[in-house]
């Protein structure tokens, strides 16, 4: 393959990562923006989504597309339910105090991993893609499913965007994010908004997981790397800034894809993590975020 063909392949792989990251980081960013909660268990909601996708597709059987569509509906709902319950039972009782919620979500991370290990086991298992046709490009064939992942993510992102900017629910969320106390005095049930935002954030991670699981196998420790990458995306994009999050997801996803094709993946991770840490040190509002009020 010529250099430009390899670059095209790397870009496509990067776009798939970016699509997954954008969905996941959007969830993380929403939770942080509205609730000021750093959800360390976000990666485990992702993992739970992947494992549930495997469970649903295995239970249904038949044509892979049938199970996949069912998984795309059932897995996010179940994950959302788990998130809702943990928000009511744990986070609300801590009054969303930043350090306490971080410790609590670390605890939740371990609990979810343990549950996955107990009921799913330590093995990595594949989920069959809903369709298998390949797109033939002049230089190489490329999986049509991966392209569909990119397309579907864009649709999901636009849908979330519309919900946030065009609906009453979105308005309520943004009002809560902007100023919690004023929102409360205008009669917004801030407490309930928090619960739904936390569930929505987890559901976005679960959707990302269902999409990615036919490409990458489901495993109980798979949440770790996406969590770190989403942290990076949310930071680069500016904590709580949704537009920044999307731009950063594209940036990080593409550079991750391209760098790991041409350089040692460990070195690429080291350099990327170092750059992000320094961004956070010298420009805490992120590259695209506005200064905190």
């Amino acid at each position: 393959m010529s250099f430009s063909a390899i670059l095209l392949l790397a870009t496509l792989e990067g776009l798939v990562t970016a699509a997954m990251l954008a969905l996941m980081a959007l969830g993380l960013s929403l939770v942080f923006g509205v609730m000021r909660v750093v959800n360390v268990a976000h990666g485990e909601f992702f993992m739970l989504g992947a494992i549930l996708a495997w469970a649903v597709t295995t239970a249904i059987g038949g044509h892979p597309a049938l199970g996949f569509v069912a998984a795309l509906i059932v897995a996010p709902l179940l994950v959302g339910g788990v998130a809702l319950a943990s928000e009511r039972l744990v986070l609300r009782r801590l009054q969303y105090e930043p350090e306490a919620t971080i410790v609590a979500t670390i605890g939740m991370l371990y609990i979810i991993q343990q549950v996955a290990l107990t009921f799913y086991g330590p093995d990595a298992r594949p989920v069959v893609a809903p369709f298998t046709w390949r797109v033939t490009l002049p230089w190489f064939g490329y999986s049509g499913y991966k392209l569909a992942v990119i397309g579907f993510s864009i649709v999901m992102l636009i849908a979330t965007w519309l919900v946030l900017t065009r609906t009453k629910a979105g308005l309520v969320m943004r009002a809560t994010q902007y100023d919690r106390e004023t929102a409360q005095s205008f009669g917004i049930p801030v407490d309930r908004v928090y619960a739904w935002v936390f569930a929505l954030g987890a559901m976005l991670a679960a959707v990302a997981a269902v999409l990615i699981v036919p490409i990458q196998q489901a495993h109980y420790l798979m949440g770790h790397d996406p969590l770190l990458l989403s942290f990076i995306v949310v930071i680069i994009g500016g904590l709580g800034s949704l537009r920044g999050t999307l731009v950063a997801a594209l940036l990080i996803g593409l550079s991750d894809g391209i760098i790991s094709v041409f350089f040692s993946p460990t070195l690429a991770k080291i350099v990327a993590t170092a750059i992000v840490a320094l961004v956070l040190v010298f420009r805490p509002q992120g590259l695209f975020g506005a200064k905190q009020r």
């Binding site: 744990v90 410790v103 670390i106 605890g107 371990y110 460990t266 993590t273 805490p284």
Partner: protein, 329 residues
């Protein structure tokens, strides 16, 4: 109560704890003898973490790198450069100090959530570096220090750190030194300034204290203590591997300190001891009753963290201090 009297009580209490740990070595069965030696070294790590988290109020998720700076600072110099034990231990301390000051200068520019994420990322970079330089560190497999490398020659006498009795004594000595250093530190004006920063940094700055320098000093002390634990771990137990640099090993000291009571001098040893035995016992017990459930430390640690933060946020000694023994440092 006159302050002089309280002072005497505090010192007597800590002397009693140290003496009890010294005497325990004669009565403990072999297995628990080994556990206590290990727990004392890990408690030093927790005490180092407590200075930054408990007293200064900075939630760091990267302290595994300071432990590992000591672990590798001592381990690699012994393994590759054939250094003797004392200079290797010193190399571990120096690595911890340099790393803590370096990370501190950068990370302390941020506060709150950003500080947590920055320390997490520096910890991650450290972990990845240990994997990247696998030629020297052997990555996840780690390096094993042979018995010959772990001997101290003092004139004609040879101190063998692989001997369980010696190991217990060295761990006990390190623990005692760090315990009294911490005690002295938090009762001095320096410790008071750290607590003031935790309670209200703005006000402390207004009173004329340079809070950045104080926080950096806290990081440096914490880094050296954690590195001491790491260096002692490498030399006493003869193993240095990349698994000690994982995020998990930054979360464990947080858990130990929370269990024992943040910002208490004796909390770390109590928390480390309790959690070690809890994980140990529950492992056997749970696996006996729930065979094939793959129950591991994950669930125990997770449930402990959530329950603690919900119902017992001050930890054991923190609650004791609040309710009964007000003078506990």
């Amino acid at each position: 109560m006159r302050p002089g009297n309280a002072d005497k009580r505090v010192i007597l209490l800590h002397l009693a704890v140290v003496a009890a740990l010294f005497l325990l070595q004669f009565v403990l069965p072999t297995y628990h003898h080994g556990v206590f030696a290990r727990v004392m070294v890990l408690a030093v790590f927790a005490m180092g973490y407590n200075i930054v988290f408990g007293y200064t109020g900075l939630l760091s998720l990267g302290h595994a790198m300071f432990f590992c700076a000591g672990l590798y600072g001592a381990g690699l110099t012994v393994y590759h450069l054939d250094w003797a034990v004392p200079p290797a231990f010193l190399a571990g301390l120096v690595s911890g100090l340099v790393l803590a000051v370096g990370v501190g200068v950068l990370a302390l520019r941020t506060t709150g959530v950003a500080f947590l994420i920055v320390t997490l990322m520096f910890g991650q970079i450290f972990y990845l570096l240990t994997l990247y330089f696998a030629e020297y560190t052997r990555g996840d497999d780690g390096i094993v220090l042979s018995q010959a490398m772990r001997r101290i020659h003092l004139g004609d006498t040879v101190v063998d750190l692989t001997n369980p009795a010696t190991r217990y004594l060295v761990a006990w000595a390190l623990f005692s030194i760090v315990l009294f250093v911490t005690l002295a530190l938090v009762r001095r004006p320096f410790g008071r300034v750290l607590i003031a920063i935790r309670e209200n940094e703005e006000r402390t700055r207004l009173l004329g204290y340079d809070t950045f320098v104080s926080k950096l000093a806290a990081m440096a002390v914490s880094g050296v203590i954690c590195a001491a634990a790491g260096a002692a771990y490498a030399l006493l137990f003869g193993y240095a591997g990349a698994s000690f640099a994982e995020v998990h090993f930054s979360i464990l000291p947080l858990l130990w300190v929370l269990v024992g009571g943040a910002a208490t001098v004796l909390g770390p040893i109590l928390g480390t001891l309790l959690m070690f035995y809890l994980v140990d016992f529950s492992n056997d017990l749970l696996n006996a009753y729930f065979q094939g459930w793959n129950l591991s430390y994950l669930g125990v640690v997770g449930v402990a963290l959530v329950l603690l933060i919900l119902f017992f946020p001050k930890g054991l000694l923190g609650t004791v201090r609040e309710r009964w023994v007000k003078w506990l440092p």
